[in-house]
Amino acid sequence: MKLFSNNYDFDYPWERVTAANWQKYPNAVSTHVVAVDVLRRELQDGGNVLVSERLLTVQQKVPRWILLVLGGSNVSYVREVSTVNLRDRTLVLRSCNLNYVNLLRVYETVEYTPHPADPRNKTLFAQQAQITAGGKFGRLVNRLEDWSVQRFGDNAQKGKDGFDSVLRLLSAQWDEGVARVTETVDDLDLDNLGAQMAQRVGDINAAAEQAVRESLRKFTILSDYQDLFSDTFDETRRRH
């Protein structure tokens, strides 16, 4: 198991960050998240705690011919349970991939809390991911986990910048007294914002799955995974 962790500040009040959290998708950058569904939602503790279970549908950008050759689907799913607690002002999101869990499991925890230095105006974002590759990979486990952690890190800043731009626009609208969030979002041209949150479990999972599937089938298609593939080939040769 490998751990990845990351912290950021958002220059927006915690309440706004949590409201924007429900409206992350769809957007121009994280086009891999094609659907978001709520599976269960409960209001608890006299209206102070809201727990939601969601299903994120992730579609990989895989050329059609690869799908034809390899078969199978380029759609995968991520389950997320989130808890908004008004008493201690926390939003905690816990996510895990539903596909290929035996090969690679990414369990991510994200926590949004008011920033200790400026709790009224800023929000602290803390992210941690546990990445576990399955035993099937033998000595490759370490390498696959390292690669996954690296990729997770590469995407973190992009995701942060994206969510910032959405918060900026939503906040401007809220400041103008447009209270109806749904209308607000409908008015925004998010396609041109070039972003949003994103690049979380869904992204790392989609990429890793693809690498896993293709390395198992001895393909060297995508340059991104060159290292992983060459290792896999060496290993395969040694065994045969």
Binding site: T18, A19, R41, G46, Y77, R79, T83, R94, T182, D189
Partner: protein, 84 residues
């Protein structure tokens, strides 16, 4: 071009989801965050939507993986991994 709300994993459920989301987002900002809510409103929209979702989770074969994940990280513990 305006921003549309996210789709459902089952296209058949997308219109019901959008109706529910509209209701929820307004409730969240206007009531929940202000501490004015004792009920999760939008019940009518919710039941219409979730009925559609549950039917399609089975149809698309997502249900078994979801059941496993629920055992491993229960809703009741906020999705935290349970000790094995």
């Amino acid at each position: 071009m305006g921003q549309s709300m996210s789709a459902s994993f089952a296209p058949e459920c997308t219109p019901l989801k959008k109706t529910y989301d509209s209701c929820f987002n307004e409730w969240y900002s206007e009531k929940f965050l202000k501490g004015k809510s004792v009920d999760n409103e939008c019940a009518k929209e919710w039941y219409a939507y979730i009925e559609c979702v549950n039917a399609h989770l089975k149809e698309k074969g997502i249900q078994p993986a979801l059941d496993d994940a629920r055992k491993e990280a229960p809703f009741e513990s906020g999705g935290a991994l349970s000790d094995k």
